[in-house]
């Protein structure tokens, strides 16, 4: 790989031909990357392209199976996150890891507090050092304030201050802007620019392409664990970048069948949950797949939870086939024909230690009961039926679901809910973290369901998925529905514009 010699200095941190596998899944294949001081470098790629594995290799969380990590040109082996930190590498994850009960100053200096005589903590020095860091970052945060209650943006500032406090030379930011508002992003970028000028190497990951173009100089693109290229952003267009990231035939991955929508199945009117989402109204018709797009934290999942009755709503109305649902009652939602496949399948969708058969059977406990007792035979045949229909790959139906791959677990969650024969299906991030093959299968299944007359509401942060699968795209921004875009007008730009709160072009 050749690099332009414009940057001058040698790379601070580099990966050379790094590979990493998890079981049969090859997460990274011969990937190389070079980070230069004073430069912001973008890492682009679709979900599951291997970005987070790459970060973890740099951060000392994963050790590469093959290839080298080079620090100042010399190979190093990180035995844990501590080693990477000592080498001056700081990682800021999307969800900051702070101690809510402790002050900002303590959060920054935990484990490394300035000491005075007899090993006692020098509280004053800690406070002053933190205040100095905050001043250097140009933010006004009281060092003695507990971290509890800080906004995500401020929490990230604390993480950055922590990185500064041990003179990090490399700052890795994993989707730092995903949950930030426009002005918070601007403040963060101000800080990143300052760090860049002070000579730090920054690796920046974002799904918002315009941010990559705004702040980064070069971009490394990954696709399915392999390196697509590492090149200057200058002269590149957003379309070029998307082509590098996606690089495959979209029609194949998104087998959308054309259908004529029928009657309104799910109708949501002026739904409000105070402080979470406001005045959300939309319809989903039978046979239709409606995409619900937006940034993380825009309130999409919360709307789905309220519609299904897990959380209560404060105002508004939800009807399924003309029948009003009861506020906060999932069982009535289920009997009205509503099914919700949640975002976090491990925590919410599945009982990980239970068998495939019993997991699928959970939604059928009412129907597979004989004289008040479980009819295990009926449960098994019902589960087998659905496992086969969805082509779940397993050894025995009695195996626990934690033995399955992510994609197959997702199929079990789908089977569990499809077994209820829903008329309205809400899927939240249906293909997050699953491989491309299974992803296409899930898409085919959703498409088939819609063709059979099921109304599908699909929440997804995967823009190509939304664009490829949805008949209509609803976009949420900070708790409000900001746009409704028909399939023909939906593009990356129109959706992102609405999702980031700018008026559609």
């Amino acid at each position: 790989m050749t690099h332009p010699s414009t940057t001058g200095p040698a790379p601070v941190l580099a990966l050379k031909d790094v590979s990493k596998s998890f079981g049969a899944v090859r997460a990274l294949r011969d990937v190389s990357l070079e980070l230069f001081p004073g430069e912001v470098h973008a890492l682009a790629g679709e979900n599951g392209a291997g970005k987070s594995t790459l970060i973890k290799a740099l951060a000392g969380v994963h050790r590469p199976d093959a290839g080298q990590v080079l620090l100042d040109g010399a190979p190093v082996t990180f035995h844990g996150p501590g080693d990477a930190r000592d080498a001056g590498i700081a990682v800021i994850y999307q969800e900051p890891t702070l101690f809510p009960d402790l002050s900002i100053a303590e959060n920054i200096y935990m484990g490394r507090q300035p000491r005075r005589a007899l090993g006692r903590i020098d509280h004053k020095a800690t406070h002053n050092a933190t205040a100095a860091l905050m001043e250097r970052l140009g933010v006004e945060l009281d060092p003695d304030r507990p971290a509890r209650g800080l906004s995500i943006a401020d929490q990230q500032i604390v993480e950055i201050a922590k990185a500064l406090s041990f003179d990090a030379r490399v700052l890795i930011m994993d989707e730092p802007t995903a949950a930030l508002t426009g002005s918070e992003v601007a403040r963060l970028f101000g800080v990143v620019r300052t760090l860049r000028e002070q000579g730090a190497a920054v690796l920046f990951i974002s799904h918002r392409l315009e941010e990559i173009f705004e702040i980064c100089r070069r971009v490394t693109t990954l696709r399915d664990g392999a390196l697509v290229g590492s090149e200057p952003l200058e002269g590149m267009t957003e379309d070029d970048l998307v082509r590098r990231m996606v690089g495959r035939d979209l029609d194949e991955l998104y087998p959308k069948q054309e259908v004529t929508p029928g009657e309104v199945a799910l109708s949501v009117r002026r739904l409000t949950r105070e402080g979470v989402f406001t005045d959300v109204s939309f319809d989903v018709r039978h046979g239709e797949i409606v995409g619900l797009a937006g940034l993380v934290g825009a309130g999409r999942t919360e709307v789905a939870r309220a519609v299904f009755g897990i959380d209560r709503w404060d105002a508004g109305e939800v009807t399924v086939d003309g029948k009003a649902l009861v506020n906060g009652a999932p069982s009535t939602a289920m009997s009205a024909g509503l099914a919700l496949v949640p975002e976090d399948r491990r925590a919410q969708g599945l009982v990980m230690d239970m068998s495939i058969e019993r997991n699928i059977g959970l939604t059928g406990l009412r129907t597979t009961v004989k004289a008040g007792l479980m009819d295990r035979g009926a449960e098994r045949s019902r589960s087998l039926d659905w496992a086969v229909k969805l082509q779940v790959k397993y050894a025995r139906i009695a195996d626990t679901v934690n033995t399955l791959s992510g994609g197959n677990q997702q199929k079990v969650v789908l089977a569990k809910w499809l077994a209820t024969g829903p008329r309205v299906l809400i899927v939240d991030e249906p293909t997050r973290g699953i491989d491309v093959g299974t992803k296409a299968e899930v898409h085919r299944l959703l498409s088939q369901l819609a063709a059979d007359g099921v109304a599908v509401l699909m929440i997804s942060s995967d823009l190509p998925e939304i664009l490829g699968m949805a008949d209509r795209v609803l976009v949420m921004h900070e708790g409000r529905l900001t746009a409704e875009i028909p399939r023909s007008d939906a593009t990356e730009e129109t959706v992102m514009a609405a999702a980031t709160g700018r008026a559609a072009a």
Binding site: P81, G82, R85, T97, L98, F99, P100, D101, L102, E106, M110, G111, Q113, R115, G119, R120, I121, H123, G138, V139, E140, L141, D142, D144, R145, P146, R148, G149, S151, T181, S183, A186, R187, F189, G190, R193, E214, G275
Partner: protein, 346 residues
């Protein structure tokens, strides 16, 4: 795009700092609130029964609280790390009997106390190892050791018992003596309390106990030796339970196989009433000590007011639930106050 930091800074500044003050005040208030409840209770009792705060009355009040304060101090450290030690009652019982058996044969009181503390350290280490290495919930592990230690105690003690007559006179005198109204035992407990509070505030390993109770995952990422700290907290808790055993012997002079049975629940109540949050990361040993003082005082207050002592347990329970309810309400209020502030300029 121009950097917006300068123009945004003043907007963020004002509400943030008042948010800090609010949170600060609430947490400082937590200990203050118990102190106020305690003082009001004492004042009301004194008004109803002027004999209550005689020199002997104060002495009894302090003596009763001393042992609970000690054990609650140790328990606080464990609870701060998001764990619990249910075996303290059993440890107290067996340490008291060990010290008593040794003294029966005419031993040195100082050695007897050291023996009790060492025994406590041993059981603390056992608990700490099981919890930190076994990755088993502390509630279950220490419930197990509660029964194991009590079992050993029962086998060893059998139906025998130690009475004050078996002990050296000096030891028993020390247990009930003091400087005017302040018992020696209370002074020891106070010294331990102040030292522990100082340690928790001013030493890195003390702050790390709070850190790992507040967010265990973040603690690991920050390079805190999590297992070592948990082990240390349990060992300290065991040591204080052992010391409390020796003090129990000195104070009451009477130990049998049932000594300390059920004590762990009183200790946990005192800690929680004192504002040490059961989910870890927050609270102080001073709060726990005040909680202990409050709970034991009810034992003396009710008889002084002519109320039957059968009410004591019910009132302890009410205090416990009240304390948790107050914590919950305060937490919700603080959260919504902070949210509103964030929303106003967000």
């Amino acid at each position: 795009m121009t950097v917006v930091t300068p123009q945004e800074a003043p907007v963020a500044d004002v509400p943030k700092s008042s948010g800090t003050r609010l949170v600060d005040r609430v947490f400082k208030m937590r200990e203050l609130a118990i102190l106020v409840v305690f003082l009001v209770m004492i004042a009301v009792t004194q008004a109803g029964n002027s004999q209550f705060l005689s020199e002997q009355g104060i002495k009894d009040l302090l003596l009763n609280a001393t042992i609970l304060v000690l054990v609650a101090t140790g328990q606080s450290l464990v609870v701060i790390t998001r764990n619990v030690d249910l075996s303290v009652g059993s440890t107290l019982g067996i340490s008291a009997f060990a010290a008593g058996t040794y003294l029966q044969g005419g031993g040195n009181p100082v050695v007897a106390i050291a023996l009790a503390v060492l025994l406590g350290i041993g059981f603390g280490l056992l608990n700490g190892l099981l919890v930190s290495l076994g990755q088993v919930p502390a509630l279950v592990v220490t419930l197990g050791t509660l029964y194991i230690i009590r079992g050993i105690d029962s086998i060893w003690v059998g139906s025998s018992q130690i009475t004050a007559a078996d002990l050296p006179g000096g030891f028993v005198d020390f247990g009930s003596g003091g400087i005017s109204a302040v018992p020696y035992l209370a002074l020891i407990a106070l010294a331990v309390l102040i030292a522990t509070a100082y340690y928790l505030k001013h030493f890195a390993s003390g702050r790390e106990l709070y850190a790992l109770g507040s967010n265990p995952e973040a603690a690991r990422l920050a390079g805190i030796p999590v297992r070592k700290r948990i082990l240390a907290a349990y060992t300290f808790c065991g040591a204080l339970a052992g010391l409390a055993g020796a003090m129990y012997l000195a104070r009451f002079g009477n130990v049998d196989s049932g000594t300390g049975t059920g004590y762990e629940l009183t200790v946990v109540s005192a800690v929680v009433v004192g504002g040490v949050v059961f989910t870890g990361g927050s609270g102080s040993v001073y709060g726990a000590a005040l909680g202990a003082l409050l709970l034991t005082s009810i034992n003396s207050v009710l008889p002084a007011l002519g109320v039957s002592s059968v009410w004591v347990l019910a009132i302890n329970g009410i205090l416990l639930i009240l304390a948790i309810a107050v914590d919950r309400v305060v937490a919700l209020r603080v959260a919504s106050a902070l949210k509103k502030r964030n929303a106003r300029h967000g």
